[in-house]
């Protein structure tokens, strides 16, 4: 325990009425019960959670997909979203990338002592809204509180289970020469939105995150019987890392037409200024789909019915060649390799 007052000597003010999360709320006692009962459970509002048992009992029926992700974004709230929306969409999207329909999620929270309860409420409300929009349930969870200075306010882990909706295994191993690469929308907005909010960069045009669930368009593709070979959401490392990972795993060469990749003008401008490559910036509501070229038009037709993938376009193609490389075709008819970013993206001097 850190110096200062011991949690057992805290003023017995009800936790939910005080302004900030206290260390005592992680102690497993009454204070934690109050936080759970007065703040967390009402906001998440699920019968399985209301049973207040050690875990949830499920019958998914058939093959499942299972994934986990931990969210440590700073700041917790940024233009167009917050860590709650990110935690739900991130894991739901990962399930969708497996060709699965997300069913249930667990929610693990690590709160830092001193976190305003109002922030916690906002994040949980957006967890709930995002989950409802996708049609998935939060059925179990965990809560820890750590001392002030030991976390950036709030960390979230979500683990999800989804029911497999694809008739065949979706993944890099299914990618074939002759496939086209479809990108569901513009790239780079999430990276710029978070960076600008974190560093207080006063851009003329505010860039909002693209954070959104991509479950509906993916399931629509699968229901229509489009033979999707591989799906991938370009989160950390951006489009470049997603493409390189697939090219390497599938031992193919991917050619991307640089001018075909949609990037918002304000994202381009911010990248020019900071020395970033938009293809290296994370997206949180975008995905890549690899499928046989003759299927492309039908797939685009389906994707463009959904707001989140209205700007879906073919950005490239898969070719023979076991180089595991991604080549970018520049507007001047040149080719250059596209690589993953190396380490941390650092803004440049001039």
């Amino acid at each position: 325990m850190s110096g200062g007052e011991s949690p057992s000597w805290n003023c017995p003010l009800p936790e939910a009425e005080s302004e900030v999360v206290r260390l005592a709320a992680g102690g497993g006692g009454r204070a934690m019960q109050r936080l759970l009962e007065e703040v967390i459970r009402p906001l998440l509002d699920d019968p399985e959670l209301a049973r207040a048992h050690d875990g949830a009992v499920l019958d998914p029926g058939g093959e499942i997909a299972f994934t986990t992700d931990t969210f440590v974004v700073r700041p917790l709230v940024f233009p167009g979203g917050d860590i709650g929306a990110l935690a739900v969409c991130g894991t739901a999207n990962d399930l969708a990338m497996c060709g699965a329909e997300p069913l249930v999620l667990s929610l693990g929270l690590v709160l830092e002592e001193g976190l305003p309860v109002a922030v916690l409420r906002r994040v949980l409300a957006s967890v709930k809204t995002s989950a409802e929009a996708i049609g998935l349930r939060i059925v179990t969870g965990d809560l820890k509180v750590v001392e002030r200075g030991r976390a950036d306010g709030l960390y979230v882990n979500t683990t999800g289970i989804g029911r497999l909706r694809s008739r065949h295994r979706i993944g890099p191993a299914a990618v074939r020469p002759g496939d086209v690469v479809i990108l569901s929308g513009d790239v780079g907005r999430h990276g710029i939105a978070v960076l600008a909010a974190r560093e207080g960069l006063g851009f003329e045009t505010m860039v909002a995150t693209d954070c959104a669930p991509v479950v509906a368009p993916v399931l629509a593709l699968l229901e229509a019987g489009v033979a999707v070979h591989c799906l991938r959401d370009p989160t950390r490392g951006g489009l470049a890392s997603a493409l390189v990972e697939i090219a390497e795993a599938a031992s193919v060469r991917i050619l991307v037409e640089e001018a075909a990749v949609p990037v918002r003008e304000e994202v381009r401008a911010a990248c020019e200024l900071l020395g970033f490559d938009p293809l290296h910036l994370p997206c949180e509501g975008r995905f890549l789909a690899f499928l046989a070229a003759p299927e492309a038009e039908r797939a685009l037709g389906i994707l463009r019915n959904f707001a989140v993938s209205r700007e879906a376009v073919v950005i490239g193609r898969v070719e023979e060649g076991a180089s595991g490389r991604v080549l970018l075709e520049t507007p001047f008819g040149q080719e250059r390799p596209l690589d993953m970013p190396s380490g941390e993206q650092l803004p440049r001097i001039c």
Partner: protein, 366 residues
């Protein structure tokens, strides 16, 4: 920023490439001064649009690359002091000193903060009066006005806990050094548009006249760079050696007089060591006596020593434009951005990093 597309228009780029091919009658070697131009050339493959007779050499215009080891060692040492918050541009974090870098100092518990402007560092100094805030002021003439403004402001406010580790360099002395070197091959320069936006281009006129080289102030977009090349080649073909301005949308002959006045008030020109190049007279900026109280070297002791190790690569020759990155035996084998030997592989503006990022996979493809 929409105007940018105009300067990336493929049809215009191709027209310029054809005009260059029609203009040049014999082998010519030009140098682009700025690392930002080097990156644009490789990123867009502009060198490949040129006839084989035209060679572009890459200049020393990467401020991170030429920052001396002694200053990096000093910054790392300052970051290790418990009272110090060391503020730096992001580029500097991975540049190696004689042992380690600022990212390592941060990992060991040093308070190293990436800022986007020296004014951000000033803000930190105001908010945390009990700490010593040191800003690592690196750069060419481009960043000098903002850094001068920060010191000027600190003095006006009496911000006693703010100081600056100054490692500023100037372009014209580097051109003298390159042109005066016995191994020089450069017949014409593309000068850095951003630097000239501040400084203007009058100071380049004596250089063009003395060494009989054309100097064209050039921007950073594909159309700018090819237009700069074309203007330079036309001068060579016509036997002229003048300073011309391609980047007219940003650069005026006298530059930005207000910014220049501020720089002249806060800084003094002094001799400076350039990493990979050596000592160049009157090639750097230090704080003027009236602002010496904000000099971190005065407050915490001078940067000293920091011998340059033999990195086992040709970074120095690359910085002087005498060799190109793929000429180095370590390039893309022992030396990569993840495990760099030379500083030109570390910095986002460095020539080796540009070749690695935009070219190295080609050998694998063939």
């Amino acid at each position: 920023m929409r105007f940018r597309d105009e300067y990336r228009d493929p049809a215009r780029v191709r027209r310029l490439a054809r005009a260059i091919a029609r203009t040049v009658t014999r082998p010519r070697t030009l140098m682009e001064v700025c690392g930002g131009q080097t990156h644009a050339i490789l990123r867009f493959g502009l060198d490949r649009l040129l006839p084989e007779t035209v060679t572009l050499l890459h200049g020393p215009g990467c401020p991170v690359c030429v920052t001396p080891v002694a200053h990096i060692d000093k910054a790392i040492a300052l970051a290790g002091l418990p009272e110090v918050i060391l503020c730096s541009y992001g580029d500097m974090l991975r540049v190696p000193g004689s042992s380690g870098d600022l990212a390592g100092a941060r990992a060991r518990g040093g308070d190293v903060r990436v800022v986007y402007s020296p004014l951000d560092a000033l803000g930190i100094a105001r908010r945390e009066p009990e700490r010593e805030v040191v800003f690592f002021a690196v750069g060419f003439e481009t960043t000098a006005p903002a850094n001068a403004m920060a010191v000027w402001q600190a003095k006006r406010e009496g911000l006693a806990n703010f100081s600056m580790l100054v490692s500023h360099v100037l372009v014209p002395p580097a051109l003298h050094a390159i042109l005066g070197s016995p191994g020089n091959r450069v017949e014409g320069f593309l000068a850095a548009g951003h630097v000239c936006t501040i400084m203007g281009y009058r100071e380049y006129e004596p250089i063009a006249a003395r060494y009989r080289v054309p100097i064209v102030v050039t921007g950073f977009e594909p159309v700018d760079i090819l237009e700069g090349v074309l203007m330079c080649l036309r001068q060579l073909e016509e036997g002229r050696a003048e300073v011309e301005n391609q980047y007219t949308r940003s650069v005026r002959p006298e530059g930005n007089p207000q910014a220049r006045r501020l720089v002249a008030e806060v800084f003094r020109v002094a001799s400076r060591h350039w990493r990979g190049i050596g000592e160049l007279p009157e090639s750097g900026l230090v704080l003027a006596p009236a602002f010496a109280a904000f000099d971190a070297e005065r407050r915490f002791g001078p940067a000293a020593g920091g011998e340059e190790m033999d990195a086992g690569c040709i970074a120095g020759l690359v910085l002087r434009g005498e060799r190109k990155p793929p000429d180095c035996p370590a390039f893309a084998s022992r030396c990569t951005p993840e495990r760099p030997l030379g500083v030109t592989m570390v910095s986002s503006e460095g020539a080796c990093a540009a070749y690695y990022r935009y070219r190295h996979a080609e050998s694998l493809r063939r």
